[in-house]
Amino acid sequence: VIRVAAVGDVHMDADVVGRFRPALDEIGERADVLLLAGDLTRHGTADEATCVAAEFGGLAVPVLAVLGNHDHHAGDAAKVTRVLEQAGIVVLEGRGTVVRCDGVRLGVGGVKGFGGGFAGRCATAFGEAEMKAFVHYTEVSAASLDAALSGLDCDVRVALTHYAPVPGTLDGEPLELYPFLGSYLLGQAIDDNHVSLAVHGHAHAGTERAATPGGVPVRNVAHPVIRQPYRVYDIATNRQPRAGADARAAS
């Protein structure tokens, strides 16, 4: 069993430093890895990233992260990434990494992702240039997730995003917001790549559990949803990937 801990939307700043740390100091007893599902800061400043580094750096387990929309607000995402990586937090944006957990290779492919909506009710690259740019950004993001996941040489594969890959974990959010909360293209990339678990944040009023059309478990770990410092998901290492992934591999 691989024990994957995850939380997102922690929105760190000086006023909340230390709130997660007591639980994080014990994480080595409960989990093998910690995933941070974006919106780690409030505005995406280097100072706030320093708060993230203080809170989530130096833990007993590897920490892998994606950024969220808040982490881009100040236009300094590269600086935020640098501060996090200096603290040993691996930031994934369209790439993957492999962590050894008790002899098992856990591969995590990550990307922030973007909106666009879900199958049958999504934005299309038609009309104004701004609309095409919006959809194009999502397409590029999902393609980079697909590449990150498919390039992993590992035993168990997990997808990490900030935006939602399925509408199921948005249950509780106003329907009108769905196009801004995620994209089915992320879900398609997950279903195409033998993924055992997909983790995201962003939807504070959503719900924790859902699945992709291919049956991959999807978990919304936004802190306002899970209401604990992190959730732990146990993945059996002998478990076969879901049917959706198998179908593509066979085709």
Binding site: D15, I27, R30, H43, H73, H223, P224, Q228, I235
Partner: protein, 80 residues
Amino acid sequence: MHDEYRAAQLRRLFAEDSEVAELGIDITFRGTAVVLSGDVASRDRCLAAERLVRQELPDCELVNEIKVIAAGPAVDEEVL
């Protein structure tokens, strides 16, 4: 201005004002009162939202029902 427009304007301000930067605060009008609800990570952030509303709608009665989420201990795990 209609309440609907005032609520829309405030919601945008909650996101765009650098002191608040919260996208998850709901605003409704009940009679003459403006009611805030939702979750934030600290008392400071709750008060920042309240300050913004007092600044924008100085004549409105304000009911602040925003909750501060506790970090709490890690409680349980799920076997997939």
